[in-house]
């Protein structure tokens, strides 16, 4: 089992992005997903810049994957997607089915991203037939469902699981960060830049609940499967996706690396650098915001 750095979900300054990936080149990662997969208005790095970064990271020995935009709305979104597919130097992660069409037409292997909604073995088999070489389950999928799917799945496709970070939960045409500042989306003044880990949303009694990240809504809780490595291994999961955060990401990677090596203290190391409360309810078939460790009978599976 190895480690992947998921695509950056937030909008950071160009310097911060370059510095982040400069460091990432030295982290014990098998692969790095690059590109703007959330909002087409985020332009401090264009596709050409991401491709240059990709070359650098590939030079440092990382497998590089370009992550496609999750919500395609306009012709210019499609243009970027076609250029990403057409470049051909790097694998692409398809995050919606238009990208699947382009990649399968191009006849290149690809990665089936978590928003393709692969909930069963039959859909995974469709994707395998079209060229998927690796896939990610939806972040809400439980261990039990994944086990059941993998029992029946085509053998040739590798499984990667979202194993760390605030959970990407929803996408909209509206921008909730712009809405917070009473700005229209087309004049958002790029306020996402002020929120390198998103904008916290709490209930009216102050309980952390969600995170606003432009058109994306994330959890406030930080999903972590660091305590589930034996189960993940048993399922035959090939890699763990760690989702970038603005601070201490190197220590997050190190904690998972330590855990993979079977050394003690990894979970404690990780707990010190998590930007929110730990959650893992989804993995245990429960509400996503729950933490099974805190629930009596946490393994109970909700019926669906």
């Amino acid at each position: 089992m190895n480690l992947s750095l998921g695509p950056l979900q937030y909008y950071w300054s160009r310097d911060d992005v370059l510095a982040f990936y400069g460091e990432a080149a030295n982290w014990p990662l098998a692969r790095v997903y690059l590109g703007e997969s959330v909002c087409s208005r985020r332009h401090l790095l264009r596709l050409a810049d991401w491709l240059a970064l990709a070359e650098q990271l590939a030079g440092a020995g990382k497998e590089v994957v370009l992550s496609s935009q999750t919500l395609i709305e306009s012709e210019s979104d499609l243009k970027t997607l076609r250029r990403m597919v057409g470049d051909g130097r790097f694998r692409v992660e398809a995050n919606e089915w238009g990208a699947v069409r382009l990649l399968s037409e191009a006849g290149v292997p690809f990665i089936a991203g978590p928003t393709l909604n692969v909930y069963n073995h039959e859909t995974l088999d469709v994707l395998a037939g079209l060229g998927a070489q690796r896939w990610l389950p939806p972040v809400e999928m439980s261990r039990a469902s994944l086990a059941s799917l993998l029992e029946r799945a085509p053998a040739a496709v590798e499984t990667e699981v979202f194993a760390y970070g605030k959970l990407p939960l929803a996408y909209s045409a509206r921008c909730f960060t712009a809405r917070h500042y009473n700005l229209p989306k087309d004049d958002c003044q790029f306020r996402c830049l002020d929120h390198p880990d998103g904008l916290a949303l709490a209930t009216r009694e102050g309980a952390p609940f969600l995170t606003l990240n432009g058109i994306q809504t994330q959890s406030a809780g930080v999903y972590s499967l660091i305590g589930e490595l034996p189960a993940l291994r048993e399922l035959g999961v090939a890699s763990l996706r760690l989702s970038p955060q603005s601070r201490h990401m190197g220590r997050v990677v190190d904690a998972f690396w330590t855990a993979l090596a079977g050394e003690d203290g990894a979970a404690e190391k990780l707990a010190r650098v998590m930007p929110g409360p730990a959650v893992d309810g989804y993995w245990h078939g429960r509400a996503g915001l729950e933490h099974a460790g805190l629930i009596p009978g946490g393994e109970t599976r909700l019926t669906c």
């Binding site: 238009g98 469709v126 029946r152 929803a170 209930t203 996503g288």
Partner: protein
Amino acid sequence: MPLDLICPAGSLVSLKTAIDHGADAVYMGFRDNTNARAFPGLNFDEAQAAEGLRYAHDRGRRVLLALNTYPQPDIWSRWTGAIDRAAKLGMDAVILADAGLMRYAVKNYPQLRLHLSVQGSATSYEAVNFYREHFGIQRAVLPRVLSLPQVENVVRHTDVEIELFGFGGLCVMVEGRCLLSSYCTGESPNTAGVCSPPKAVQWTDTPSGLESRLNGVLLDRYGKDEKAGYPTLCKGRFEVGGETYYAIEEPTSLNTLDLLPEMLKIGIAAIKIEGRQRSPAYVAQVTKVWRAAIDSVKKNAAGFTPAPAWQAELNKLSEGQSHTLGAYLNKLSEGQSHTLGAYHRPWK
């Protein structure tokens, strides 16, 4: 066609009501989690479905079956069984979201007409054409996040008929790409066919007001003079940066009557009315108004204006909420009543 009126049938009574009031087609689900309105007391068993089909077909109308949740691997046969029943019953089309299930349908029932559900999250013609090429879908229902020019661009680049939501509940998130409900309650539309499920809702009268909670999470608190709505997760009031407001979406619903001439012009095949969970009386009134409006715009698109009586009738039905044009017509001030959603908005 064009502008077929597709109405919700949560029960046999609603189905007959919709047909009687002028629906061109109705959509329904079986009584389990194979469809996205898996609510207690709703939907059809096989005998009721057969009777509904007979009723509709006798009157020259169609029945569409929503099978638009994502099948679970260990109970895959529940979904394929539903396809088998749909074909046996003679459904006019099945509305699917899952690619694996589409493959099953095409392989086993090549004559069965397939529609891509809004839960399939296809927002571009590349995605729509993918489903066309691989599974021969004949119609796609687009998520309520595109503006009308974006919808038009999809229509121009595909042979697939395009269906839009016209009236009723409004998802502000891309359908099929929203897990907020399962994050909070364990059940999402994708897997369980429900959003903000009633069994997770709790109302409490407290000294600081009436509180609505979803699986214990406070969604809103209402003052004495405020009207409380159903606690749909994305329509609660939350705290962001020290302010308390509708951080995601006001409790509005969609009403696109004003946009009918444009929808006709760009070649929209069908308008869908949301609300299989609503009463037969609701279905009757909405169907009646939309039948009149669609007939009117087809007769004279240039001179079309929604009759004030129609709007008044629809306003009465909107759960005390304001209406919005959704993303179709997106504006900064989304609190106004009667906006058009994403279909009409100035930005790209």
